[in-house]
Amino acid sequence: MEYAIEMLNIRKEFPGIVANDNITIQLKKGEIHALLGENGAGKSTLMNVLFGLYQPEKGNIRVKGKNVKITNPNIANDLGIGMVHQHFMLVEPFTVTQNIVLGKEPTNKYGKIDITKARKEIQELSDRYGLKVDPDSKISDISVGMQQRVEILKTLYRGAEVLIFDEPTAVLTPQEISELMEIMRSLIKEGKSIILITHKLKEIMEVCDRCTVIRKGKGIGTVNVSETNAIELASLMVGREVNFKTEKKVAQPRNNVLEIKNLYVKDNRKVDLVKGLDLDVKAGEIVGIAGVDGNGQSELIEAITGLAKTSSGSIKINKKEISNLSPRKITESGIGHIPQDRHKYGLVLDYSVGENIVLQTYYKKPYSKAKVLNYKEVFRKAEKIVEEYDVRTPSVYTKARALSGGNQQKAIIGREVDRSPDLLIAAQPTRGLDVGAIEFIHKKLIEERDKGRAILLISFELDEIMNVSDRIAVMFDGKIVATLKPEETNEQELGLLMAGSRVKAGGVNNDF
């Protein structure tokens, strides 16, 4: 059996930690091979070794059976290894063609860039793999899914035989994800080989042939996907039994905590994005908002939390009008907010974990008195939250920047939940997190619900919405178009509603 790439017994150490300990991964020609592991398990380190960014202490790399030494990314490229990065590396004002040839521009004999030739080549590649990319579009004008295809084309244009996808679905909508799966299959048909770095088990089950699991830097083993299931993979990844179906009792909804009537919100271009929205959330229930990104969800949350102004309509918390109050007044009226973008809004990354824990309460006793901070109390509180919410950090004095995404998120959740708000808004609380962290966060949300809090969950992951919500509100074009019970609906129906189809009694009408 010929392997496209073999990484054998790789060991990579950093001062104080072993990032990769004896990991072996063998990629067969023409297969899609998953590399599965939690955040911080060592997936990125391993790929950086393959790309020559790090030199391994032990182990060797073989390409097509030959030992190679990869000391920089250019060598990896020459060996036909290409990477589709999670964060795209594209020049926004340039066209697709210009981006793809960047750094490898074809020139005519006078040294002028031959863009027509490049354009033709790219069109051919695009057609061959069914990418449907328009070579003349500007990057800033095309969707995120298209941008990702440009990244794929970039590697193909450079002659990649092996493509590595780093968490490719994190930024995509459900439709774009299934299209990407198709593209990966057609790449395989044309003789390419793929390593898919992910922690989403569903994707592995759907598209991969084999799966190598790593846990805490150690290689756990490689399994054939056809001989396993998601539950087994999950327990291999985290090293214990994982519960997929979130356990919860039937909700006991009580009085309305949040009441929104006929709300209108404009975005910064003065376009209405929330258009006459009505919604209420009761104490003791979780309302999940399902919808494709860009249908006004972000504006809705910003309006509730005071980060954006509303143009008309009313938002009430416990019967008190809060629209257009300052964020602090709104927070104090009983709202906790787990923001969608934890780096932009949720944390001051250059502050310590402790300082971030009091981000909403630093001006109150006992954390400060007469405007003088009491750091002893601040860090004592932080110790408590870190312990209670299982935030894995070297200490509460460590900068938030140094924590993994999951632990940053747990710190935010700890901070927001600990204030016991009447309404907890969780915007994509598990985005980019691994199974263990997701399970923990879902459990916490349900715990809070059972304590009688109202919870508003916004997520683009239908699984999450179906699993956690007691009531699902589908948002489309700035309005709630349907409210359903999760046990009375399915992903298909939700998917259609999210795409704008209207519900008729007992079913879905497609004539929209």
């Binding site: 939390t305 602090r328 001051v348 502050y351 460590t398």
Partner: protein
């Protein structure tokens, strides 16, 4: 991680200073001077006797304050190029109050100092307001404010404080920071009580930044405005507050010159450079109150000692400006020094 950063915070400035001095020695050698003699003259010029020591401290005083003015704003992510103008208006306001008010010292002196603080504060408030409310970049506005300060101050000296003269009258004893005791101690240097005020100001900056909720908010806004807004802080208010306090420090520096060193104010043909040197002091002092004090002492000593170099060693005083420039160059390119340190450490392992 953090200890590493602290180590760099201290090591980088020290190594930069050493490299700057070494480069200065090479320049002296290559231009036919004796660097040992040159630096000996520099040392004697700065610390050689009680008089030069007094003058060195006197020179250090406003540099501490302008250094704080730049460092404080920087903590909120603002670049205060306007310390220069804030010094000038602070100087003018302090001398003005010193001249027109008649009161016993216990009222007069604090009032004159306060006038300098307020004037500087106003000069910081305007760029802060423009930045916070309509997003005009503070660098542009503060540069312009420097010109406004310089030329309007000159005009006020000519037309209001005097009758078309170039120097105001000397302030009365009741508004003066000069100290007969300190002067006699340092062989009649111009050393005055201002150094105590400057050190107190450094302590105040440290306290505000590191210990109060104001400092917590100011730094948070500097690091991440979105998260600050999310957590209910008033971002605009903090930007303005930061610039006002920064301006107040620089205004205080002007008051030190007006009430301590000179006792008057003269028409200026150009900038005092105290504010611009403050940028260098803040940079070398890693924007930290204690670091600013040390950096100001170094710059004060270099500038004072430079006067001795032409007579004792035949080295032109401009050499000191070159050394200062090189030190700043090395701090600014600290990446190279970091890299070298890490490289060294690696080889040890």
């Amino acid at each position: 991680m953090t200890s590493n950063k602290k180590m760099f915070g201290i090591l980088v400035p020290i190594i930069s200073v050493l490299l700057g001095l070494i480069a200065g020695a090479i320049i002296m050698l290559s231009s036919g001077h004796n660097p040992i003699k040159g630096y000996a003259a520099l040392w004697n010029g700065a610390f050689g006797d009680s008089y030069t020591l007094g003058e060195t401290i006197r020179r250090t005083t406003p540099l501490i304050l302008t250094g704080l003015a730049v460092a404080f704003a920087f903590k909120t992510g603002l670049f205060n190029i306007g310390a220069e103008g804030q010094v000038i208006v602070g100087w003018l306001a302090a001398v003005w109050v010193g001249l027109v008010i008649d009161a016993p010292m216990i009222i007069h002196l604090p009032l004159a100092v306060l006038a300098g603080i307020i004037a500087g504060g106003i000069w910081g408030f305007l760029p802060g307001l423009l930045k916070a409310k309509i997003g005009v970049h503070e660098v542009i506005v503060t540069i312009m404010m420097n010109y406004i300060a310089l030329y309007s101050t000159n005009e006020i000296i000519r037309s209001v404080l005097t009758d078309q003269k170039t120097t105001s009258e000397t302030i009365p004893q009741t508004a003066s920071l000069a100290s007969a005791w300190l002067q006699s101690l340092t062989f009649y240097s111009r050393l005055h009580y201002g150094i105590l005020i400057a050190l107190l100001a450094a302590f105040i900056m440290w306290f505000i930044i590191e210990r109060t909720t104001y400092g917590y908010e100011l730094k948070a806004v500097g690091f991440n405005q979105h998260a600050s807004n999310y957590s209910g802080m008033n971002v605009s208010k903090n930007i303005i507050l930061s610039m006002v306090i920064a301006g107040a420090f620089a205004g205080l520096a002007g008051a030190m010159e007006g009430l301590g060193t000179y006792g008057n104010i003269s028409v200026m043909s150009g900038y005092t450079n105290l504010g611009f040197d403050g940028i260098a002091v803040a940079l070398l002092g890693s924007n930290n109150a204690f670091g600013v004090v040390l950096a100001a002492i170094l710059f004060g000593a270099l500038k004072e000692g430079a006067g001795e170099m032409p007579t004792a060693a035949g080295v032109p005083t401009e050499l000191v400006d070159i050394i200062i420039a090189l030190i700043i160059f090395f701090v600014a390119s600290s990446y190279m020094i970091r890299w070298a340190i890490l490289r060294f450490k690696k080889e040890e392992n």
